[in-house]
Symmetry: C2
């Protein structure tokens, strides 16, 4: 009597065990373990849902359309992972931070590798459109000791909710991007404009799913940072604008309470002139604390 | 204080609840319920697996390649559903049969709608290649009472493991296909050739996954049937060849013990001549019992 006959053929009751049992000869132990978890949850979900054959085929069609939407410029499966909270969950699992260290959030698709290195105080807004903003803070270790020479790679959307790479020709290249280095006291500062919320790409199957779920596609306004220093874990995160209409409903679940920055509106012509920005302007303060490597 | 703030932002601990909570405004109650199950199992699976970011991206790439493999002629997501046992599970859930009725199995991609209607005893093997086979049996209700005028739509692979539609030009059109009707005693019979095992399409991402899992891509030899009669549930099923090398390891989990037919090899020139087949030949007996609608 063969192994299969002893185990029994596939039935509604033993379905997951039979399918997992088929991977017995797999020599990649990690793949085998991962597939066992996937098969177990997949079968449990199907048993709870009890899909009709039409519903099963609707799921096949959705996955197919999602695949067909992907090309060199658009990754609809990452978008699906984002709106289902999977990207943030994978980020959380891979970047559990010790107490005192700044929390991470997702990288997103708009980072550009070779942004210009700029002196502190530089204005990264190259087209002067939007509400002036001065951002400052310190980079420290998780005990609050300043880290000199830490690198901050910053990028953000403009006043209309678009990154430069989404509006080639309309925005200057490298608009609202720059790499800064902390001074001896761990300090950094730069000038920019207040960013605006924006939608994730909503013209594909994922956007259609959000609409059917009664969800909007917006991300609340934020600045992206990659903060790095020798001997510390590199931190990929955002800081968020607190008064954004979508601060409590980020389409990709990127907001953490600890990443909501102070945004203070100033009406002070003398100070504005001193800082080299128009009046009124926004002052933003945010400190980053890096975990040891 | 907003709903989100009360509920709290996304964390590793509350991730599924936060994502499910976002669908609160969904007016399609079924979709809402289905997505809640999917999100709960998806997050539970990610938490058990704890994928690295590279592993997460490998999953994104796999799904993308699977989508890109799909076109009008190839449905790689259905193939994925098949090899993970999901197609058979959906079939099982949708076709729970009362005691006494023949069990169902998956339709598969090779059914053709307009096969020729033939008299009982017709030979559906149009090119005379393969080992002769005579198939006979009865169609009854679940209590064994004959059903006259029941329709049997039959199709099968040839002696080389290919359906006619896979070998256009090489096999005659409608080779090994036919629609038969039961006589007054519920009986049917036809002539054909013994089918052979064959691989599911293995040149795409699903075939690569099977290889990495140490699994073969073969389906054991079988005949497909759709059996229908007024007042009864239409039955989509296969009957299987018992001595097939893959009978215990069907790549798509379609085998059920009750669907393994009797295949007897006969060496009887007189009877072969009487039946109009070459000698030796196979005699196959299988009765179908339909559930009431």
């Amino acid at each position: 009597m063969s192994a299969q006959t002893e185990q029994g053929y596939f039935t509604e009751e033993n379905s997951a065990e039979v399918v997992i049992g088929r991977n017995a000869a797999c020599t990649d132990e990690r793949l085998k373990e991962v597939m066992a978890v996937i098969i177990r949850h997949l079968h449990a979900a199907v048993k709870e849902i009890e899909p009709t054959e039409a519903e099963w085929f609707a799921a096949i069609r959705f996955l197919t359309k999602t695949g067909h939407m992907c090309d060199d410029w658009r990754q609809e499966f990452i978008l699906l992972s984002d709106v289902l909270g999977v990207s943030m969950l994978v980020d959380a699992i891979n970047h559990r931070k010790p107490s005192g260290a700044t929390e991470s959030t997702v990288l997103g698709p708009f980072h550009v590798a070779d942004a210009p290195v700029l002196p502190n105080g530089a204005n990264i807004c190259l087209d002067q459109k939007g509400e002036p903003m001065v951002v400052r803070g310190r980079v420290t270790d998780s005990e609050g000791r300043p880290i000199a020479g830490a690198k901050l790679d910053v990028w953000q959307a403009n006043d209309e909710g678009f990154y430069d790479v989404q509006q080639k020709g309309h925005q200057p290249d490298f608009n609202l991007r720059g790499v800064f280095e902390t001074d001896a006291e761990g300090g950094y500062w730069f000038r920019a404009v207040k960013p605006k919320y924006y939608p994730i790409p909503a013209d594909g199957p994922v956007g259609q799913l959000l609409a059917r779920l009664g969800r909007h596609p917006y991300r609340p306004a934020h600045l992206h940072y990659i903060v790095s220093a020798d001997g510390y874990e590199t931190l990929t995160t955002h800081i968020f604008v607190p008064d954004d209409p979508y601060i409590d409903s980020d389409a990709v679940f990127g907001v953490k309470a600890s990443l909501i920055a102070d945004f203070e509106q100033r009406d002070d012509p003398a100070r504005a002139a001193d800082l080299g920005v128009g009046n009124p302007f926004w002052e933003v303060a945010f400190d980053f604390a890096l975990a040891p490597r």
